[in-house]
Amino acid sequence: MAENKPLNFQWAINHGIAEEMRRDPTVFLIGEDVGKPGGPFGVTRGIIQEFGPERAVDTPISEGAIVGLCCGAAAAGLRPVAEIMFMNFITLAVEEFYNQASKMRWMFGGQVKQPFVVRAMTAGGFGAGPHHSSSLEGWFASMPGMKVVMPSNPRTAKGLMKAAIRDDNPVLYVEPLASYKMKMIMPEGDYITPIGKAEVVKEGSDVTIVSIGRMLLEAEKAAAALEQDGIKAEVIDLLTVNPFDMETIYASVKKTNRCAIIHEAKKTMGCGAEIAASLQEDMFDWLDAPVARVAAPFTHIAFHPALEKHYLPDAENLIAKVKELVG
């Protein structure tokens, strides 16, 4: 089915889910307001109309039970796609991700699979305040058995959703509210974006920029600006933070000998820490400069827009950091 008009991020997710629901009758949608209301932010509009209330299920406000239900349904052969709304609320389901879903297959000696997807939204940039704007993917990147994907644009949003639904492991799917209206012409036909595989979106020889999730926009902006100053940045869109595609990063750093990582989450204990630690451990002799991390500071995200803006990393911070590395 060709899609020639530009599609936005929100609809890309929607289409990814709907296509998989058409393809596979074991896929169903569950969460707060995902059915009749069409999603708290409209992402699942039309799904209940096409697939009926059995496959688009509204629940009480019970994040733990929603993810617990996913574990049990997946173990019984279904493929749940759940929504947890703002990622901050995933704090209430850490138990089900960590002790249950991520371990179940291994712990039971392979007796079950855990094919389910949980969507969680990061909302940095909207003044939504301390309980609504966090990026917590780092915790889930620490869990063997879990996968965590961070789409960067409508194309990868749809491709990763389809890959996540087809994956036989629990996948946390992180979607940024700030990208919902981002539009692009989509690839035609049925495609997936493979999980665990980073994409080199711009080649360069002077420095490797590893970008996570919606920070790709900033990375691309920074790369363009750096180009003006004669610095050729290679930009990698990581797409997955569990498992980390270190191969792609290593290959790039072998060329550039320098690396900066940008992510919306806090710098302290963020995914950039793991990438930097691994890089220096495995590529010590290839590095001509420290691996830099451009990320949120060690404080809370504020309601106040200017404070929030300062908190969130952007192209400007990245440019400054890269110039330090290269200079």
């Binding site: 707060e32 307001d33 009749k36 209301p37 708290p40 509204d58 629940t59 009480p60 406000i61 019970s62 733990g64 039970a65 901050n88 609320f89 704090t91 209430l92 909207f126 003044g127 939504a128 305040g129 301390p130 309980h131 609504h132 500071p297 060690f298 404080t299 809370h300 504020a302 309601f303 106040h304 827009p305 200017a306 404070l307 300062h310 908190y311």
Partner: protein, 319 residues
């Protein structure tokens, strides 16, 4: 229960003050001057007023993302409150918290909460402190019917009952959890019946009848002050606005809002007070104007308050 004339006027004034504040924020928010998300409680005014009117200054409340009414009813100074909604440095929380995460400790609001249900878990500790310190103070924790699905509701009520903590669980049934109607996420008619699961009293009332709320809270407060543990009050009411400001509300059945507007708790009470001769039209007008004036001052205060410096981000993370 006989309610004194003074109390009646107090109840009315609280509601008017709440409503005036919220109606003004609606306009200001629509004008783009207020950042973030805004969840308002017009229509549920009687629940907050009837409850807080019957609490002392030392009693405290916990509220939700939809907490303005409760906070004002508890006696908040509107200036720092409005400044907080504007994100200014003179806001109660220095512009860090905004509407959803607001607190005003010195006036007895121990916190709103962006996470549904969590106020209940935290309220346990404050009630515990009251018991520990042998004060007779009580805690009122407000929440919506959606919150009754959370583990927080159950753990909190169960623990309050086990430890005999002085907590009044005040549930405001406004018919929706975001856009999902009550019958799609709750399998019983009256959630106050859940109090029986903990051996506590649970009462369901018309939440638009402010005197009824006041009366029932009176029983609850006595129960709690006597050391008998938690008490639940379920107030059936309605929110006139959407889940958040800007919500198109297309999930509402036709005529629903209109039906409830006829039961507006302020309008109802006005009629009653006039009939009883407690207030006349002139007095009502004066009270409303006084409230508007107070809000105008709060808005002026907020507008002149400076934006926080960037350093605010890094200040006071640790004590």
């Amino acid at each position: 229960m006989k309610i004194s004339k003074d109390t009646k006027i107090d109840l009315y004034k609280r509601m008017v003050r709440q409503r005036t504040f919220e109606d003004n924020t609606t306009k200001i928010f629509a004008g783009g001057e207020m950042p973030g998300f805004l969840h308002l409680s017009q229509g549920e005014d009687a629940v907050a007023a009837g409850t807080c009117s019957n609490l002392t200054k030392e009693d405290v409340i916990f509220t939700t993302h939809r907490g303005h009414g409760c906070i004002i009813a508890k006696g908040a100074d509107l200036k720092p409150m409005m400044a907080e909604l504007f994100g200014r440095i003179d806001g109660c929380c220095r512009g860090r918290a905004g509407s959803m995460h607001f607190a005003d400790i010195s006036n007895g609001c121990m916190g709103s909460n962006g996470v549904v249900g969590e106020g209940m878990r935290i309220s346990l500790g404050t009630a515990f402190a009251h018991k520990y310190n042998k004060t007779k103070n009580v805690v009122a924790v407000f929440f919506g019917e959606g919150a009754t699905g959370t583990g927080a509701f159950h753990e909190s009520f169960n623990m309050a009952a086990t430890l005999k903590l002085p907590i009044i669980f005040v549930c405001s049934i406004n018919l929706y959890a975001q856009m999902t109607p009550k019958e799609d996420h709750i399998s019983i008619e009256n959630v106050a019946d859940r109090a029986a699961a903990y051996g506590a009293p649970g009462v369901t009332i018309d939440g638009n009848d402010v005197e009824k709320v006041y009366e029932e809270i009176d029983k609850a407060v006595k129960h709690c002050r006597a050391g008998k543990g938690p008490y639940m009050l379920e107030c059936k009411t309605y929110r006139h606005h959407g889940h958040f400001e800007g919500d198109p509300c297309n999930y509402r059945p036709e005529g629903e809002l209109e039906k409830w507007l006829k039961k507006d708790p302020i309008v109802l009470y006005e009629k009653k007070l006039k009939k009883e001769g407690v207030l006349d039209d002139k007095q009502i007008k004066e009270l409303k104007e006084a409230a508007q004036k107070e809000v105008d001052k709060a808005v002026a205060f907020a507008r002149q308050s400076p934006q926080p410096d960037i350093e605010e981000l890094y200040k006071g993370i640790y004590a």
